[in-house]
Symmetry: D2
Subunit: 307 residues, 4 copies
């Protein structure tokens, strides 16, 4: 039975969860989808879902590092799949490095001369990569002592457990026993450093081991749910795990700027995932077209309120 669109009403000093509720009264366009994402997330938590969070792109240098840490600490995520960039930039800050606010329209040749690398409007001084190298190389040595062949998840667990910075999502995950997969780790500065280490020492990142661990998690999951910030490897790796598991996702939320028309998995609809059996036929699903740095904090702040 269709409902009327009621219009969003604002109030001075309103809370984020109240705004999400107003968006739910409307129920349409992207505002309606943000509200549905909040509702879906709450349902997952109520159902005791095993929640797989995919973290694409470079949201850690973009200001969401602590939000991921909070999501882990508040038990709003049970496993993460991340890009190498997000792991690298978490470690950069954990090792005393930092990111600077810059400009997106700028002379990049001049930045190069100044020793600054750019990620949209974030500036990364080359210096922090030197700090990163100085700190990660001895870390690899320690890590390899527990065995020189490991999955990316095991690598990140071992690294995370050695970090002291409580704002690090890798530390939070290690502390909470939340696995963090990074199946494309070779495709990142962390991966380049791992290769440098491996030139002189024994170190193998066994990504098929990641597949095993992920399929196990997926197989043991309860009412599994996926929360996808961006697409890329994190989205696909989470979804493909269900191809070998006896179940499929009962919930899925994706926040993305990607679209389906060019056929890449990043922009694929969640409906499409049903044809593969990755998402259950009666699953509760919602796609929000938007930037994760805006949309995810709204959703999480609203969920934290009622959690």
């Amino acid at each position: 039975m269709p409902k009327r669109v009621r219009h969003i009403e604002l109030k001075s000093g309103m809370r984020v969860d109240e705004l999400a509720e107003e968006m739910g009264k409307s129920g349409v366009f992207s505002a309606g989808r943000v509200a549905k994402a909040v509702e879906t997330y709450r349902e997952m938590l109520k159902a005791g879902s095993t929640i797989f969070m995919g973290v694409g792109g470079a949201v850690v240098p973009g200001g969401l590092r602590l939000v991921l840490t909070q999501a882990i600490n508040e038990e709003l995520a049970d496993a993460l799949v991340v890009t190498g960039a997000n792991a690298t930039h978490d470690l950069i800050e954990a090792f005393g490095g930092y990111h600077m606010r810059g400009e997106a329209m700028v002379d990049d040749v001049k930045l190069r001369r100044l020793g600054v690398s750019r990620i949209f409007d974030v500036y990364v001084p080359q210096r922090v990569f030197e700090i990163f190298e100085d700190r990660i190389q001895p870390m690899f040595a320690k890590v390899a002592k527990e065995g020189s062949k490991m999955s990316s998840a095991e690598l990140l667990r071992r690294i995370g457990s050695r970090i002291t910075d409580k704002n690090s999502f890798l530390k939070a995950a290690a502390d909470k026993g939340v696995p963090v997969f990074c199946p494309a780790v070779a495709d990142s500065i962390l991966g380049l450093q791992a290769w440098l280490y491996s030139q002189e020492h024994e170190l193998v990142i066994d990504v098929l081991q990641d597949v095993r661990e992920m399929v196990e998690l997926a197989s043991n999951a309860i009412r599994p749910g996926a929360i996808l910030l961006g697409g890329g490897v994190p989205k696909n790796f989470i979804f493909q795990s269900m191809l070998l598991a006896p179940r499929s996702f009962d919930y899925a939320i994706q926040i993305t700027m990607d679209r389906p028309e060019h056929g890449g998995l990043s922009g694929a609809t969640l409906e499409e995932a049903k044809s593969w059996g990755k998402v259950a036929k009666n699953a509760k699903i919602v796609t929000v077209i938007g930037d994760a740095t805006v949309v995810f904090p709204i959703i999480l702040a609203a969920v934290m309120k009622k959690a």
Copy 2:
């Protein structure tokens, strides 16, 4: 002097303005831009700016009708430029019609058979267009008594002043003396109805008169500011007014999903507008790539808090 990216920190029960402040601490990616939009809007209000608000697309059926009304009533906008669709759908509700929540992926031929027209995931029963016709035709007759040739802004002022529904943004604008321009009014169902009326009666919508009124407003504006929800005619009409005025916009906020690469004005950067003299060289400007139904309520709720 560049600042560090500090990371967004969420709190259970936090207010929208607090979230915007956290986004401002980060200052980067889209979250940083939402925060900058809030800051820019507050500055405009403090500076006593004459604020021109462009309302593209079909945000009124999409749940933002009351938000526009609130913006007018709280004196957060001094002039509006809207699409014919937004005017039409405001009137539909003012006349007792309504919009329904539907589905975006649906059999449109079946909807047609059921007498339902679709706007993304909003359903509009054909019946409400009949109500609209029944009510707007006598309205035109009354309106034309004050003179049969008028600008679109004058038409909407005369209509707005005859409406009793306090949720109508056209009524709020008429009551507050806020002009609402609709220079492409012929390109809407309101325009089709106007033409039907004009077949038997004298009625001319003189859009060059709109240009005159807009250029006058622009010429008399104080520290003018533009807030653009989407692009299209509203954006261009607001900006072009400065080509004939002795000043240019000191502030501009645009919220859009359009991009510059195909050269249309809708997706053009605010920097580009500086080359035309539409936006001042030192203007405070910010573009947020996102859906207005999500982004604008955040910004407005945050601004209302401190206003």
Copy 3:
């Protein structure tokens, strides 16, 4: 019965229509849609369709001026609906002005100082707007002698018939008897000039008259087809004409970068138009997500081959 995806095969020196055919062998993703657009256009021509072409954005300064002229001269379009920008920039060149190749990432304040206005990577020297003013003002005087109140289509017909530049699409249209509607003409530099003229002289652009002429055309159309370059007013004006006509579009091709999620008509699917009765339930429709300056020349070159 589904067909296999056969793969595109390239040949040295292949023709555009051969490439389109290869894309049709594949039949999927955007390449498949380009091929379907070619096939649909050919079918329209074979069926003797009345073809309505919507020309949004600013494709005339962007290099498609002559392509529009060719489409008119080769009888591939029977009516046009254009933005004011496209009409203005056609006239700028007809009056001896020109557009320059520039850069999209540039210092716009410096351009302003140099007297250059920017449209993405096109530079428009201010000088050409002076030429435009010098030439269009006496043109209005001549045009108004045939009657001071006219539709936008009548205005453009009268102007087009006075142009000598054979590359002008407005001239070609006037010569061929192809009407060119510009219902949002007030929203353009042509509109600003019209207003300037109207301050001292009698001139009314009666856009309700455009509605009448368009509804008549739509009512008399044979197997009507729509070809939409971009969205905006041109798309909506073409489609809304069918709300008052006893038929609907049997064919529709849209080439756009806009998407449906934020609910604007520009990005709406052609399926959605079926729910309104704008497009027939069995219509042959195809949407290509892409820039019109790339996609439309491919389609037209392929169609011209077999036409």
Copy 4:
């Protein structure tokens, strides 16, 4: 010295390279960028560039399989970096499987019931995955005999050299000695199959070895050039290789629908890559916003003409 925008002129029966030349006469908007991509590719070939081609998304099921094979056979690419999906779907066809043309708007639950998986508008019958499994498992056994630990590039070389289907890009690459990297191979059905094999047999895909091979290639490259179809791991892996090489890309062409605003590497500008030293400060670079299935065949057909 800026040039005038000359307008694209079409001819009946014109060749693709002639169309590209017309686009170059205009030089602006996306058409201008397609022309610049053609010019840049030709320059690369003339300069004897080592060309790295990144193949993101799922363009192989989308009709570009043979185009990749042609690019390799015509020596238009010297190394490829691909997603696991592109490798998997090449092998599916090599093993006698196929892809079907389907619909993008469809009931995915019904497809699931029918045993059909969907990739936008491509249908993949589950049956072909069974064929894939039947054929790839014994292939792994053969491959592992040459050594059970290998890079993804070595894996794909060994597989490619055992394929007989001359349309396979993996076979063409193996035959031509063109390495094909797939650093995120675990994130694909090929990876899932590799893991299944590894449960009972010794098999390790050593992605750090891929880093070594890629850095070597990058270090020995002559006037290196990058051609990027989509973003994702292929783009980043190609670019990051230059962080450890004594040079940077002198040429780069990217064809993508991704945008920079949300900070992901996929949508990052090629200018940004200069700040990292991945792209040389004086490099010839061009980004075309568009679907690779449309844009890349145009560029390649035009390049083949003059090559």
